[in-house]
Every structure is written in structure tokens, then in C-alpha cells.
Subunit: 132 residues, 2 copies
């Protein structure tokens, strides 16, 4: 499938949903974006590093969490302006739903940069009905 797909768009911030509890709950597009981006901004670089390793992906990681969000947002915006492709992931689920992400997304949109969501698991709907 990969052979026929267009490459990632330079200068784009990709909001990549990652698994909540089950490593198989990751989409083909999420894996491709993580494989092809220039850098992965992660809520917890150690946690996300293990996820990438599980799928045989090796990309540079940048920490992005509550207490460095302002500084890191600026850095990510600079990278996007230079044409880099940045993937933003959180420990689990979809960035910006109940995790960090809002600040850099707002900054990217304010700067006229491209933001693309890569949907997948999110806490809002991923509950198991048998537990409900």
C-alpha cells in the first residue's frame, strides 16, 4: 500500500493517535506518519520511544508536556516553518482530547501552518461496553 501513497507534506504538524492499552490499536497511517516524520514530539519520550521501538521505528524524540509546553511550542513552530514534518503524540489516545497539544495546535494554526489529524483510539469512545 505504501508505494502508492503520497509523501508527508513538509511543514505539517501531524496529531497522531496512539494505542490506549492495546498496541494493535494503531492505524496504518499513524505508523506511516511516525516512520516518515522528521521528529516526534511526545508527552513522555521514554513511553513513546518504546512504542516506536515495538514497531521498529527510529525517529528523534522531543519532549512536549505540561511544564515545557510554551517553550516547546515555539521550537516546534520554528521547525514547521523550516518545512519539517512534526508528529505529536501523547502517552495514549488522541492529542488534545484529554492530553497536552492544544497550545502548539493553536500556535500552528495562528501561524498559518498546516495541521493534520491522524485519528485512532480516543478515551471518549474507546471504552469497552462490557465494563459499562
Amino acid at each position: 500500500m505504501d508505494a502508492t501513497l503520497p509523501p508527508l507534506t513538509p511543514g505539517t504538524l501531524y496529531l497522531v493517535a496512539t494505542p490506549i492499552g492495546n498496541l494493535e490499536d494503531i492505524t496504518l497511517r499513524a505508523l506511516r506518519v511516525l516512520r516518515e516524520c522528521d521528529i516526534v514530539a511526545a508527552e513522555d519520550t521514554r513511553h513513546s520511544g518504546q512504542l516506536l521501538k515495538h514497531f521498529g521505528i527510529s525517529r528523534p524524540l522531543l519532549s512536549y508536556f505540561q511544564f515545557n509546553e510554551a517553550k516547546r511550542s515555539e521550537e516546534i513552530i520554528e521547525r514547521l516553518k523550516r518545512g519539517e514534518k512534526v508528529a505529536l503524540v501523547t502517552d495514549a489516545g488522541s492529542p488534545g482530547i484529554s492530553d497536552p497539544g492544544e497550545r502548539v495546535v493553536k500556535a500552528a494554526l495562528a501561524a498559518g501552518l498546516r495541521v493534520e489529524t491522524v485519528p485512532g483510539s480516543c478515551a471518549l469512545v474507546a471504552e469497552r461496553p462490557a465494563d459499562g
Copy 2:
């Protein structure tokens, strides 16, 4: 990855999220469930047949939509009771969010059968922020 994964559980109804607009937005687990289930109950069998074909998957399809939900629910429950593994998909997104699915899920739970969600894209959170 597949080699180390446990097989699907007999007598289980799998609610499988499918792509909304981008075929790459499907998870590894969704593909595995669709490949290994006994039958796929689909909102539109032609639509879902094309999805399966795209991924080289060939499983029997059963139509399940608004106007045959009651009858088909009974049939699905009988299949589950016989130990079949049934995947439920809609045209796009997560079954039961804004699509058919509620009736058979309630019937399965009422009968003490196992229901498992396979999360992925859902209309609730898959919007593109650049369009918002």
C-alpha cells in the same frame, strides 16, 4: 506481530471501527479481527466488501442496517451463541456512535455474550482542526 497474538475469542461480537474517508485510518487490530472473524455484519455489504477487498480480506458478509436490525440482531445472537466470532462494521467510523449497532450490542450483553470494541476513527473526534 500476528504470530504472537492470541486468537479471537469464540462467541464474541467485535465492534470494529473503519476508516472515515482515508483508507489508511484502520488499525492493525481491526484488520486482524476482519481477517479472523467468521462473518462480517455490515451496514452496507457492498461498501464494506470494497474495504475488505482493498486489504485482501475475504469473509462472508451479512447486511445489518436500520430496517432489518431487529431480525438480523436475532440471527447474530444465534451465531454468537454457537461460538462464532462476528465483526460488526458500519460504512465509516465506530459502530454505535452515530450508526446502527445499538440494538445488537444491547441484545448481546443481555444474553451474557462477550462484546469487544476495536477502537479507531470516530466522527466525534476525527475532524481536521484546519477546517474548524
